[in-house]
Symmetry: C2
Subunit: 311 residues, 2 copies
């Protein structure tokens, strides 16, 4: 009957007695070597963070709140340019989220069945090249120490989970939780960015290099991941009234300054980030009895924060 | 303007022109060698499936419907025995889902803050041994061909995603999407099964061998994965009224026959399952331009179905 309270169990983030865990692991006890993720973030300097560029940031506005998406022009320049045009001209405003497939994706765009009933694209392009990968030259790629089954190398490029192939000298974005891509038909170059999806489950890395990935949800994933699953094929909603309305998708730079969401993301090319990755590769808090000594690319947290007030 | 309809994009499961994909991949065209998952399932025989054992099946009953959980007594015999007792005595009936943390877990049990206010355990045990792993002797382990970063070997044991270490001759269940575990406190043996969680995001494999895993959701994941995320620490709901009520958790064998959910799961120890895995390691439908040649353990689908009517 005097059962300990199990509710705070599973991951008691507050308890970070690193010393004990390090000892249990047979290592020299060293608190400095075993800071928890939270301790590492608390010790971060302003230079460990990078502010989102409003010109590369989309706001997806729902009745439930705002989803903030960082675009990846370094990987999909043509798609990102088209997304900017579509947002600027209000293409998605009044359209809807049409698909929610459990453990896979949530997808939005023009739900009209009839091609002729679809919303005109305005000055956006209806046809774009496929942007499945890019040259790895001049890409600041920060490799993870861990081996990956899907790619020769994985790591981070300016905050995005990515992969690299030294043989072909190419790099591409990885389909981790929260990554946003451009839906397409059978032809590789059949996406134009009007139809977007976000990963809401186990990383479907088989999509890597098979579709154009355009960005990442930095804030507000929980507004998309909880949408009722569609009961039609592939998780599409069977009735239009089941769809979630999109109030607007806007480029942050087009939004008045005082209506913007100030956000910083942790830089992924710093010693602090390396320490964070190591803290997650080998959990040192009391909860974990056996540090894994490994992490998958898509398990690495990519923290975002409201910039601290300037003192 | 004559844009193709992008809605059915991303994964057009209906289009499975295997011949074309096999050719594009430089292989000898052979429809027999490149069946899609659906074609493989359509060609399955009754012996490729296994009915759930009602004595190892829990029904979690919510207002939104029924979640079906298959228990894993081969991996956690003491916990499963306690879960059976708790279910039989109605322990969870009237309790609630208290936690929903995005990209991690949904968790249920007794939400009472005060230990003294907690529901009595009846004849269930309040203390159990940790069951993080078992001997791999006499375990029918069906290995995946793919290398895994978290364990020396991964594969399936009677339908459950699992891992094995030949050196220590141990095996354990893997924390894939839909896996159910027993929440605990700091002490390894502090779980008794009253507090359960299910994985709703990227597989948190760092929990493997750190906590007792007791089963897997076979049907109804979409009732749990869409629960609003809690805004308290670790995704706990801050107000009791935000919790989702549990009508009952019952052992299927205690439910009248005509109220049971008839379900079969695909066996994971058959040539048909190997073919299914290969079909997912290398997608052959027209959508995929570059088959991955790899799959992660937690990306392998584990199909369930209503048993076909006997002819």
């Amino acid at each position: 009957m005097p059962k300990p309270r199990l509710l705070a169990a599973l991951l008691p983030a507050a308890l970070m007695l690193a010393l004990f865990a390090a000892q249990a692991n047979g290592q020299t006890p060293s608190a400095a070597k075993a800071r928890s993720m939270q301790e590492i973030l608390d010790a971060s300097k302003p230079s460990d963070w990078r502010a989102l560029d409003p010109g590369n940031t989309l706001y997806l506005e729902l009745a439930s709140g705002r989803v903030v998406i960082e675009l990846a022009p370094d990987f999909a320049p043509a798609h990102v340019a088209n997304l900017r045009t579509l947002a600027r001209e209000g293409y998605w405003n009044g359209l809807s989220i049409n698909r929610s497939q459990d453990n896979f994706v949530v997808q939005w765009g023009d739900g009209a069945e009839d091609e002729k009933a679809r919303k005109p694209l305005g000055s956006a392009k209806s046809k774009l090249p496929a942007e499945f990968s890019r040259s790895s030259d001049k890409l600041d790629f920060h490799a993870l120490p861990d081996r990956d089954g899907w790619a020769p190398q994985v790591g981070f490029a300016d905050g995005f989970p990515a992969a690299r192939d030294p043989a072909s000298k190419t790099a591409w974005l990885a389909h981790c939780y929260g990554m946003v891509g451009a839906g397409r038909d059978i032809a590789p170059d059949s996406s134009n960015g009007t139809e977007l999806y976000v990963v809401i489950g186990q990383s479907p890395r088989q999509l890597d290099r098979n579709i154009t990935t355009v960005g990442r949800v930095v804030q507000g994933m929980e507004l998309l991941s909880v949408l009722p699953r569609g009961t039609g094929p592939l998780g599409f909603y069977e009735k239009p009234e089941q769809r979630t309305a999109i109030k607007a998708i806007r480029l942050a730079s087009e939004v008045p300054q005082n209506e913007r969401t100030a956000l910083e993301v942790l830089r992924t090319d710093t010693p602090l980030f390396d320490e964070l990755v190591e803290a997650r590769r080998n959990r040192r808090d009391d909860f974990y009895k056996r540090p894994a000594g490994h992490i998958d690319l898509c398990n690495v947290p990519l923290p975002a924060r409201t910039p601290p007030a300037k003192g």
